[in-house]
Symmetry: C2
Subunit: 348 residues, 2 copies
């Protein structure tokens, strides 16, 4: 589908791999369901299939890249490859990428580092959906950050989290079920936390105000200023360090370049105690967390990334797709003469 | 007082500066009130006044330091000076420090970087006071992280936050006032969120279980697993990368070496768009956040670090001390023949 829109086979392969990895890890919101938006983005000229990518600055341990409006996945994949190469000899490398687009799950690029026995970091700014502490309009993104460390026998530690309490999709789930939401998820047009998901979504969609709340909710008393600070931190790492866009200037208009910015990096464990020692120590730490006494009614304590690895084990052979997603894919396919096999209802 | 306990004049000067900076920035919990614990730590042999500090590993962009049980402040101050020197020529440097002690406010070492026009980061693990998501006993620390970026005309962005929703001191304030606390602050011995601060503190102090909750509270629904993940991230950066202690093994016993570990670092803005461009872009970003529409009843949106800078302006001439803190200092002083002038009740 992406090749049919003019993307090179290699760029399409990279993008598809990032999307499939999201589905395999149970993060369907960032899986192949996103293809529709990418295809539309290319059609609208928001995404350039053959951008003139430039390295704006380069040192032995850093890169600033201008993506010229290209697809986020191939841009970031290639920047990560360069970071990995530099970190092998120079112990670490961080890159900022400006003028990019949606890059999929932040964790994908960290997984690239983990596969090579390296420590990885990845963050991106996003469409503004989040209200700063004491504000009432969307000003900052859900700005996710991902960090991963390689274990020895245990799976890696892989924290991959939006800096808002929840993504907007969660409000949609609760609105459909007509269930009240926790009051740390979103605020209304007056900036007041609310539990009415349907009304909040209506305000947001019609741009009357209100939006998602940062991790910690809408009040300093519950730590909302910390989530707000983390979101701003990601904006600075991505948009300020790269000379790119930040806050409300990111991806606000569906018919203009999105100007999303990313921050990625690799640390070679040899810069510290080395891969073996760090892996062993991380294994011990993970076991220690997992064996801690459980709360009443709980059977298991998880470590960051563990739930996604459970999905990956489970979805080794195939990944179930919602019928709605199948239909989206089929519609794109039909437009370009690609036929997709029949939807089968599985046990998942 | 520290010199009287055997610390060198230079180490005492550094430690005093870190403590005073906390008081000046309105973080009294980490100010001179801490002197009592440091003096006791030296007396009990938990803190060594003349540690045999070793550089375990060194690369052009990294350091691993073994603090041999020395004071956290001089250890980290000197490591930060070395990071700054390396970052000037090699564009960045990160250091992990093991076998250390309480190092004061995380932000102090970031301020050292900001003063030199550099980007700074600082984190430390702490006494376990926090319960992991789905747990019921303290297993991880309040593990603060601080990150700062230099502005041009605006004050720096300086995020300095514990990864728990609140510190234990907040529960004490509410217990004294017999006010219920928000249910995202702490959980009881069964691992259930509770609003009864006095009962929670009683459980914690008598080690019956329960403890502080990570940022986001006690449930995945409210994002508690994110705060838990951030706390673990800090533990890994500090204790795992350095080959030091983590989680429940940190500072559990008042009569044995604490084994606190830190992670600090410096990024030279020249690795990215340079100090001038980054400063200007950060200024714009800060103004953009501050001018966003305010929630009903709110007059001001703050940026990370802003409140502390307001305190610093206000406390340029003198820093008010609570009478209780004055008495603590006077008691230490009396023991070693140091007299302190009379306590004056001020307008603060």
């Amino acid at each position: 589908m992406l090749v049919a829109q003019g993307l090179s086979a290699e760029d399409a392969r990279i993008t598809a791999d990032v999307l499939l990895m999201a589905d395999r890890r149970g993060i369907g919101s960032h899986g192949v369901a996103r293809l529709k938006r990418y295809v539309d983005g290319i059609k609208n000229g928001v995404i350039r299939t053959h951008p003139a990518v430039k390295t704006v600055r380069e040192t032995p341990v850093s890169l600033v890249i201008d993506g010229d409006g290209g697809m986020g996945q191939p841009l970031t994949y290639r920047a990560m490859q360069r970071c990995l190469e530099k970190a092998r000899t120079n112990f670490m490398c961080f890159a900022t990428i400006r003028n990019s687009n949606h890059y999929g799950i932040a964790g994908y690029y960290v997984l690239m580092a983990l596969t090579e026995g390296m420590i990885g970091v990845s963050a991106t700014n996003t469409t503004p959906l989040v209200v700063p502490t004491f504000g009432r309009n969307v000003t900052i993104g859900t700005n996710p950050i991902a960090v991963g460390f390689p274990g020895k026998n245990e799976k890696p530690f892989l924290l991959d989290m939006a800096t808002s309490t929840v993504p907007r999709g969660k409000l949609e789930v609760f609105a459909r079920k007509e269930k009240p939401i926790p009051d740390c998820w979103a605020c209304d047009q007056a900036g007041q936390p609310s539990t009415n998901a349907a009304a909040l979504l209506d305000d947001m969609i019609n741009r009357r105000g209100g939006g998602l709340l940062p991790l910690g909710g809408g009040d300093e008393l519950t730590g909302g200023h910390k989530g707000y600070g983390l979101s701003a931190l990601v904006d600075i790492l991505c948009g300020v360090l790269s000379g790119g866009r930040v806050g409300p200037d990111v991806a606000r208009n569906n018919n203009a370049p999105a100007g999303v910015a990313h921050f990625i990096g690799v640390i070679n464990p040899a810069a510290f105690m080395g891969l073996d020692a760090i892996g062993e120590s991380l294994d011990e730490y993970i076991r220690l967390l997992k064996k801690a006494d459980k709360a009443a009614g709980q059977e298991r304590i998880y470590v960051a990334g563990e739930k996604e690895y459970i999905f990956e084990e489970k979805y080794r052979e195939y990944v179930p797709l919602q019928k709605k997603v199948f239909e989206i894919l089929n519609n794109i396919g039909n437009e370009i003469g690609l036929s997709i096999t029949e939807y089968k209802k599985g046990k998942d």
